[in-house]
Symmetry: C2
Subunit: 289 residues, 2 copies
């Protein structure tokens, strides 16, 4: 069960950090840029090697690969496979959404036996029809999904913070749906196979959601470049510092640009700094199972 | 401007039909199935050849290609390029959604110079941050997007039909956002570069949206296999039968399975039947520009 595995890794590493491989070509040193998607893979490979013993997981953002067509698809697959080989839990950040047979194709693409991903992000605007095909795939594979609930971006409230007639906000409603979709799939640590994306940049909403969704594991974007800091994201975690993992992409991948030196070493140093920052707020991460 | 071009094609062909290339391997005759993505491309190519003179556009559903990794990405690209070569307007049905620099990568992938797509479907749950990068790309290329507003599936109302405190439903709110995102981009026929997905299966909602969103062109799924018929989808159109195009995938691709004969010829016959069915309700399609 994926969130059991992820929780165990987090406790072991004491590092609830997900390294985001949103590897834009412009992030690479010039000599790698010239090699296109081969350069992107080489960059990812060395970053993965550099952090594999200190973090539980990586998140690979599909958009940065899709832009290169079939070469990008190959680089995306190889990156996920390499991260898996190095023992990391792999999140495919694809925010897919569709219905019925089409959603089943996406579920197969991202969570099927041919994919190295353990988790995929999905968008729940279409309702249960768009989620069930993923859950069916998860039930056979022990994998999971993250549903977008409250996203980290400035305009996320335009729809997500509107209040419904029944008193809930749209993000609370989506959170309730995520909690419900996960029913009957809880693992050892109490989390179902349906997680939620909850931005570090909205601590009030995170507090509400953390209390409201006790069986939902949070993927937390927005730390660093987007303005989220450790104090703000404490609200995303349950007691013992469990129930969440914080993504950081640019802050890790581009650390060498201001720290100097080798990009992979700088990525490791930035990750360790982030770990210290988070643990300063969360304290020791303890499983209560 | 894409919706001018699409409107002119619809008036010329008198056929507001989009052929959906949701080409599942199981839809193919056995001899083509054995050839994998090469077989899928061959099937698409012959269907495109068979309908290119009678329809304005095709919609290529990304999920059915992504499941084959880099081979699928190649087949997706070749299918779109071939449809474009044959003079068709190409809709990439990808329902992408992300923010900022990541959304810009998706916009480049689907609407950039390297892509044969004229339009891409997107999901607006993340708000304006997720849409602006697509609009910036559209302003340079004359291309457009379709925002998911009211989808055709049975559970679409779980979120979309909830009523907000301000009296609007969530789908009305999303429709209002689409109309607003399109401001300042209207073409000759009054439609902006931001269209909406509005399911044929919900005629009451379609009627409300058609009146509410006068400058928004509708992509209408749900005809045929999902239960939508011509009478139900009249509400999706403006006066003169303008402002919408109806997708049909399985009903066209799999027509040969019950009609017998060659799949490409059966696809053409099914398309002509659908055209007659729609025109029976819409009457002659007339541009008022």
């Amino acid at each position: 069960m994926i969130f059991d595995r992820l929780t165990e890794r987090i406790v072991k590493t004491q590092c609830p950090v997900c390294v985001g491989l949103d590897t834009a070509l412009g992030y690479l040193p010039e000599e790698l840029q010239a090699r296109g998607t081969e350069g992107i893979f080489e960059f990812n490979r060395r970053v993965i090697d550099s952090v594999a013993d200190i973090v539980p997981s990586v998140k690979v953002q599909s958009a940065y690969y899709e832009v290169y067509g079939e070469q990008g698809a190959l680089c995306f697959r190889r990156t996920m496979e390499y991260a898996k080989e190095r023992g990391l839990i792999v999140i495919a950040d694809a925010k897919r959404n569709d219905i019925g047979a089409t959603a089943a194709q996406y579920a197969e693409a991202f969570l099927g036996e041919g994919s190295a991903a353990d988790l995929v992000t999905v968008n729940g605007y279409l309702g249960t029809d768009g989620i069930l095909p993923f859950l069916e795939r998860c039930s056979r594979s022990g994998k999971g999904i993250f549903v977008l609930v409250k996203t980290s971006n400035p305009s996320s409230g335009e729809l997500q913070n509107l209040r419904l007639e029944d008193g809930r906000t749209v993000y609370e409603c989506m959170g309730d749906m995520a909690e419900k979709w996960g029913e009957g799939t809880r693992g050892e640590y109490g989390y179902s196979c349906v997680g939620a994306v909850v931005g570090a940049t909205y601590p009030e909403e995170a507090k509400i959601l953390r209390a409201r969704l006790p069986h939902t594991f949070f993927l937390i974007p927005g730390y660093g470049a987007q303005g989220g800091n450790a104090a703000m994201l404490k609200n995303c975690f349950s007691a013992g510092g469990l129930g969440g993992i914080v993504n950081n992409s640019r802050g890790i991948l581009c650390a060498y640009k201001h720290r100097g030196g080798d990009y992979a070493e700088a990525a490791r140093a930035a990750t360790l700094d982030m770990k210290a920052d988070l643990l300063g707020v969360l304290g020791e991460i303890c499983a209560r199972s």
